[in-house]
């Protein structure tokens, strides 16, 4: 008998195909595990409604369950809605090391116009950076530039 903790540990190691240094546990995409009769149900939640990585993540979780010889399925839940607040501190550290500025924890919600927040360059550490575009290479990122080292970098935007 595989324990729930062991299942969570194993499927939590599935990597995000877009940002392979992060696991779905780091991201907070993995929501939990429960039992329905003899079946194990692993719940995951998408970061964005249209996130194209979800199909692959679901498939990888299923493969992991098979490798554990666990009879189970994967369920996608929408509520509560994913937030960058669920990203682990270890995940944020890994992101910085990978060259992506982690979410600042100040979520951009509410009124129609939001503030641009200053970020530290993940490459040289300078706070002198500017936003090029609020939309980056994937839904979850925005595009920034460091005015000190002149390098462009991605930012995992708060949501």
């Amino acid at each position: 008998m595989v324990t729930d903790a062991a299942i969570l540990d194993a499927v939590g190691e599935v990597a995000d195909p877009e940002v392979p240094v992060l696991t779905i546990a780091d991201l907070g995409v993995l929501r939990g595990v429960r039992h329905e009769g003899d079946e194990v149900v692993v719940t995951i939640t998408p970061t964005y409604s249209g996130c194209p990585a979800m199909d692959l993540i679901r498939h990888e979780v299923e493969l992991t369950l098979q490798s554990l010889h666990v009879d189970g399925r994967v369920e996608t839940v929408l509520s509560p809605a994913w937030t960058t607040d669920w990203m682990s501190e270890a995940g944020k550290a890994k992101l910085t090391e990978y060259g992506i500025a982690p979410p600042t924890g100040r979520r951009a919600v509410g009124g129609p116009v939001m503030l641009s927040l200053t970020l530290r360059c993940p490459l040289c550490g300078s706070p002198d950076t500017s936003e090029l575009s609020r939309f980056g290479s994937t839904s979850c990122k925005s595009l920034w530039r460091c005015n000190s080292c002149r390098e462009p970098f991605d930012h995992f935007k708060a949501i």
Partner: protein, 244 residues
């Protein structure tokens, strides 16, 4: 068909058709960052559409693909605003300002509603749409308060689409009867307040129109809808059942 099916279809069709128009901008936007931004916005809308159409389909045994690819024009329930051709970039930003501000208010109310799935979709989407509103706001202000030419085009875009905005707030039997539905008539004042504040800041003048186009909610569409659907549906209809 049930009221909930019809209502979910309205929400899903708005998102689907808006996403299709947004996708047309990819590789055609005025700058690379904008190709990426509009592609991302379209992807958010498509994600919302997929979940909503899956939900609608679950009520009568159809899939999201059945609903997207194998319905006729008259069966689509989207706003005419969503199906109009893209026009120039200022035109696209005017539409995004009008539509995303509406979606933001609608989803914000829907996320506290009693239908678990609709509330779940809305709770996610409202955060995504906040970024869409912000993007449109920045561009409308930048173009309106920019050069003489950019101002002229921004004003033209705002004016051309204004007659299609009243349809968003049209109340009918369905929304009054269905407890989980948001009656959009109640969103109008706040929508106008937000949109007009942006238009004022952009130095453009407030659009006016005595005529208002309506009909999308009952399946009456503009002459552009058929062409849009031809592009959206022709691969799925030419090769029914194909997988890859």
């Amino acid at each position: 068909m049930t009221d909930l099916f019809d209502y979910t279809l309205r929400l899903g069709d708005d998102a689907l058709i808006a996403a299709q128009r947004m996708a047309e901008w990819i590789a055609a936007a005025p700058q690379l960052e904008e190709d990426v931004a509009l592609g991302n916005i379209g992807l958010d809308q498509l994600g919302q559409a997929r979940t909503l159409l899956q939900y609608a389909g679950s009520m009568d045994g159809r899939t999201e693909d059945d609903l997207a690819y194998f319905r006729e024009e008259r069966e689509f329930r989207n706003l005419q605003l969503c199906e109009l051709p893209n026009g120039d970039f200022a035109h696209a930003m005017a539409r995004l300002l009008y539509f995303a501000t509406y979606q933001h208010l609608l989803y914000d109310e829907l996320r506290t509603g009693t239908d678990e799935t609709l509330a779940g979709v809305a709770g996610k989407a409202v955060k995504e749409v906040a970024y869409h509103v912000d993007h449109a706001t920045q561009w409308v202000i930048r173009l309106g308060d920019g050069t003489e030419e950019s101002h002229r085009r921004m004003q033209a875009g705002l004016d051309a689409l204004w007659p299609y905005t009243a349809e968003m707030f049209e109340s009918d039997e369905l929304v009054r009867r269905l407890p989980v539905a948001v009656d959009p008539a109640g969103l109008r004042d706040e929508w106008e307040r937000r949109v007009l504040a942006v238009i004022d800041e952009s130095t453009c003048s407030r659009p006016e129109s005595s005529y208002q186009h309506k009909g999308g909610r009952s399946g009456r569409h503009t002459e552009h809808m058929g062409y849009l659907l031809a592009e959206l549906q022709h691969v799925a209809r030419s090769h029914p059942g194909a997988t890859w």
